[in-house]
Amino acid sequence: MKGVWNKILKVDLTAKKAATEHVPDEVYAYFLGGEGLAAWVLNKECPRGTSAFDPANRLTLAVGPMQGIKQSGAAKWAVGGISPSINMNAGSAITHAFGIEMKQAGYDAVVVHGRAEKPVYIVIDDDKVRVKDAARLWGKDSYDAHDLIQEKEGDGFEVVTTGQAGERLVRYANIQTAHKSFAGRCGFGAVMGSKLLKGIAVRGSQTCPIADPMANDALNKAINKRLAEVNASKPELFRISHLGTAMATALFAPQGNLPVKNYQLASHPEGETNLGGQSYVEKLNAKPWACRYCVIKCHNKCEVKNGPYAYKGKGPEYESFAMMGFNLLIADQEAVAYAGELANRYSMDTISLGGVLAWAMESYEKGVLTQEDTYGIDLAWGNAAAMVEMVRKIGERAPGLGYLLGEGCKIASERIGQGSEQWAIQMKGQEIAAHNWRAQYISALNYCTGVASGPNHERGNSQHIWVGHILLPEWGIDHVENAERWSWEKAAERNAKFHDYCNVINSAVHCKFQEFASYNLTDLLATINTCTGLNWSQEELRRCGERITNLQKLLNIRYGWKTADDFNYPKRFMEPVSEGVAAGKIPAGLDEAIVDYYRHRGWDDKGYPTAAKLRELGLESVPG
């Protein structure tokens, strides 16, 4: 097959050895690459009983057939392994240029296992692989460690690192690259920390042959032109390169989609004024910061010039504004931006961090936590300075509450008790991202049934049907009525299609945000075909997504998933809010909808894939 190297690099940190392994074509025809390939690695090498911090856990950094082509969105790549936040297989997407460089080094994946004796980083320079001492990097934040590695290794290397939170095993520690992009969810930074791995540098000089370079080139040019044109045609008020994803708060507010006060309220007027696109540009001096080949440019560089929150760096995205701002009743955009950048440096996912802090603030409000627990910090709703200080405490894993909050709100609430489990807004150990189940019931179904990364808004982004009018007409979702937001009637089918869609995107690998500028399944399929020569139809593409979903489900089961996990959702969403379009709406009937989803999938009523379904997908035995 073209578009892949049929080769992965395996680095054993215990033995300090690296070796390449051939991967047969059948594996790519089954799972494409990226997160699908990472799941295949786990299936092959990590038996039942392997845990996230076990040296046997495989941390896989993977690309797919699309990396290396000059198409907007094709800088994306994937990280996979067993997650310390959900204790199951998971994946996370990240972008900029590391994946492209890894592909150019001649590998479809770098798989790290074992545990070093002392802190190390890995340097991959085409076929030369070295494991180097990282003693002077240990204890540094992720940006400083990144810069020191680049300085030491020289020009042309792309680098990933984790910060102190990764070293200290915060369960939602992330991996960063280029000070701008993060494999944010699922705690893979902590997996790096558990292996005493501070970073990886990669440089490559090879071009992976694709099936039809001329057709691919023409396709890339046409797609890039159209996406740029769409983006430029949007009014400045909605232009992503101008406003970043922060613009979404203004669009989500009227839909009741924002998380407010740990999902207790429907609106936060001061936040709606301050935490949005226009103030993002004016107060944070946001400037576009594109990933390689991207014409959309959703990342931004920001600068706060004066005051306690002065900084220059990565601008907060929608999820950071939502979870660290709205969810905490904080409306100070400079404080939220600064706290987000602190989290980035420590390497903490701002979605989980916002969820954890909301749990702590509600616990403080209810007297379950007091200032004796909070180092004297007044952890009241809306207290921006307290939020910033607690970010530091968690990043440093300060003894006491800072350490506990690094475990995530599930474990924290179980340790603290006193009913605080009731306001830990998490599933399977992972805090829930900023899409409100009351605004569209399909979000509830997605979070409960997701198999690719627990309750994840980008491993099943069916909320986009409603919040962004993203449909999948090539797969039969071509029109929805607004009233269907609050209906279960077609939810199982739509949810399944979006799970499979995310799996092909995350395995190809491509950026899902391109879809907001008109990128669609026709574009994706044509690109995959010109890269690989597979000449798939849309039905075959969907089947690939379905196959990856089922493999992930089998891995969930292997690592301990039980049916009850899908039904153990936060009951807060069953409490109605009194304002806005979602007033009075709760996803009643969710339990039945989950079972309906299982049946739609061809699984049994307990959520286990049937033998017939596995046969149909060719998964009785996995190739390779």
Partner: protein, 81 residues
């Protein structure tokens, strides 16, 4: 005459102009709370229409006559999340 609208085949009468399809699509989303909010704030839905891979300016909608095999899609102003 056959065209494709949002990826779905559709039969239309010869001579149909783009504006007629745009009006149909706008009517479909008129109750969406985000669209309602956008119209209240700015007077427009801000949906963008892409005909055969090219964005069509609003002022051209009334004059364009649809052709056999045309592919029409629309994009919402939303981004992010």
């Amino acid at each position: 005459m056959k065209i494709t609208v949002s990826g779905k085949p559709q039969e239309i009468a010869p001579g149909t102009r783009l504006i007629a399809l745009v009006n149909q699509l706008e009517a479909r989303v008129k109750n969406d709370p985000m669209i309602v909010s956008l119209i209240q704030k700015t007077g427009r839905s801000h949906l963008l229409y892409i005909l055969n891979g090219t964005v069509v300016k609003a002022e051209d909608h009334p004059t364009i006559e649809m052709q056999e095999g045309d592919d029409l899609r629309y994009v919402h102003p939303f981004f992010g999340g």
